[in-house]
């Protein structure tokens, strides 16, 4: 399950991280590192696209939690886009939709940043 990849696209002030494969306890560190890199560049508007994510474990979920506080404090947000039903179920079970905004389309996630200057929850 070590086949995990991250691709990054910078769209103006929004950074899109696309996750591929399996996000588990072993690969979570890689995701953590790229999120940390983005934040280090003072980019706080982040969309994580899960279109090609096949599996997420609790350690993978934890990565989101590690950064959200800081990002929101700086006026940004981490939004989650295009999760497969199976992956969404894992988020849902844990109550993540109460903490993060989920979008079926990447575009709507990007637009959500433009619309509101929301401080997050």
């Amino acid at each position: 399950m070590s086949n995990f990849e991250i691709s990054r696209e910078d769209n103006k002030e929004i950074t899109v991280l696309k996750l591929h494969g399996y996000l588990d306890a072993h690969t979570a560190r890689e995701f953590e590192q790229s999120l940390a890199n983005v934040i280090k560049e003072q980019r706080f508007k982040i969309v994580v696209s899960l279109e090609n994510l096949k599996y997420i474990s609790s350690a993978g979920l934890g990565v989101f939690m590690g950064f959200i506080e800081e990002v929101r404090k700086k006026g940004g947000d981490i939004k989650i886009a295009q999760p497969s039903p199976k992956v969404y179920k894992v988020f849902d079970l844990l109550g993540f939709p109460n903490l993060y905004e989920f979008y079926d389309q990447l575009e709507t996630a990007l637009k959500a940043f433009e619309k509101t200057q929301q401080p997050g929850k």
């Binding site: 306890a25 953590e32 609790s58 350690a59 979920l61 934890g62 990565v63 939690m65 590690g66 506080e69 079970l93 844990l94 109550g95 993540f96 109460n98 903490l99 929850k121």
Partner: protein, 697 residues
Amino acid sequence: MSRIPLKMVILLTALLAVVVFLLDNFLYLVKFDLSIIAISLRSIRNFLIMLIGLGWYLIIRKRFVITNKPLSIKLLYLLQILTANLIIGGLLYYTLEPVYEGEVNLTYANYSALLYANICGLLAIASIIPLLFLMREFIFYKQKRTTQLYFNLFIGVILLSSVIFFFEKEPTHLFDFENSNFIHSLLSIVLILLIILLAFRNDWLTYLPRRDKFLYFFLGGIVLIELSLLWKLVYSPHLVAYSKVIGNVGNIVWHFLIIYCSFALLTLLVHLPTARAVDRKLKEVSSLYEFARELNSELNYSRLTQLITQLTARVLESSTTWLELREGQETELKVMSHINLSREQIEQNPFDKLSGFNESLLREKRPVLINDVSAHRELQQVTKWMPELRSLIATPLFSNREQLMGIIYAGKNQPYGFDVDDVSLMEAFANQFAIALENAHLWASSIERERLEQELKIAREVQLKLLPQQMPNIPNFELDSYFLTAYEVGGDYYDTFQFSDGKPGFVIGDVSGKGTSAAFYMAEFKGVIQTLAQHTSSPLKLISQANRIFYNSIEKQMFVTAIVGKLFPEKRKFQFVRAGHPPVVHCSSSSKTATFIQPPGLGIGLDRGTLFDKIIRLETIQLKRGDFLLVFTDGLLEIRNPDNEEFGEERLMELLKNCSGGTATEIKERILNALLDFTSNAQLHDDLTLIVIKCQE
């Protein structure tokens, strides 16, 4: 012969020498002049002299044991014998002034000659035999198949010629070709050949250290001068006058010595220019040998690093030597062992990063030689750091996975202190160093791993003790549980307790992540739940407070999912809250259905409290007789079959529909068997916890 006591032999030999001397006196005073008596007396006398030789040989063989002595001692003996001959012979010669008569058969012209010849003869006998023993040692230093043969032949021919001389009258020397007959000439040629062959047997010179080569060359010169003086000054006519046989043997041995000595000097002369190189090679070989032995047996990391610097310093003759090692993929290097570095120098070491000069080593992958540090652009700060350092060899050490493990530096205080040989030498050593370091590292980590395994075993035992040792007896209910961790310790957890109103409660939880940190939080979670339960009768309050406590103590990216349940035994009622945990399954025995009950909820530790409290709901289920509940951790749904398919909710639902009937334990066994069937394995390997709560019929 060894049966004859040595003392007797010594006594007899001495006695014989006296007898010969007395005989000489008698012959000198009486002057028989070619009469039969004189001839036979002379024959007896000559025979006695040969006996003296034999006696001395026996004594020497017994007493002069030198085989195990070092070469230098043997050479010293040689020098001592020759010098003693020269001094004694020379002094007596000038004080006694001997004169002889005759051409071939010399006779004493004055009494001084008699005295002198006797002393010389005995001295010669006394010297020749130990000299031959000494020469044998040198020649046999490096034996070849033929060495023994040549030497024995040489001795044999000497003895043969001695026998011939004993009976013949002419000539006086074997090498005197003018007066020689066929047999003499033949013997002479054979002897010359043998001497030359033996003279080539001077391999011992090759292996001498450089300093010794110079010393021996000088000493060899003295020996050669002494030898030539010996013949001219001491022996020439005197030995022959004493005994033709001794004269002949002395003559042969003298030739042998002078030829061997000349050859040896020539060899040394040839070897002197390369002496340093040979010296180095020899040191390399011995270092490598010693090194391989020590390195292979050294598993202590710090002693090994010391060994490496010591060996490098010895082989390169460097004045400053230090070894820097790198930890894993770090870009910093740390001085692990050194020779002649001060504490400040270690602290200010300019070579402590994998950049600049060190980076070039990483590219080169082989030792780099700096002939003049002060002329090197990249090493300006090195000159400031250690002004006396002028030449430097830096050797990178690579592991067998091509990872840079460290660098060994060797410096000298003069420019151009090292040469190309040193570089190739370090290149060869580097591999050995790297292998040894890797071995020591592996050894250390295997010991460390063993220790950790032991620790984990203990942790596992502790964790298992945190789980309830048996399920409580609750009226109208029957409980059973199953617990499995994939690692030594895990984040799964379940527990039973009583709420403040005395009603039985239970909790099942799963700390995110795996292994030791999860296990620690699990232990904390148990304490929190047990404590809170004593002060509340509401699962909702319990979990809400647990969340507030945990949010502050748990790392940001960690969380706990849990279900806290409460049983009402008389009413056969069940209440629970779900904090991000997989749903509770309610299985009805009457309708043969399995229902997943998933009230809204949030994982513990994700939110400070407000949101958590807002989301969480208390769910109540009224149970009927024969119904059962299943609570579990997500390991159950994630069990995979050989086709890598997850067990999943649907399969679980199908399984549970027809699971009711029998005791809680029977139900549990049914579920586990189904899971084992699904995996096609004999055992389950993931974190998995489940609790079956059966409502009695």
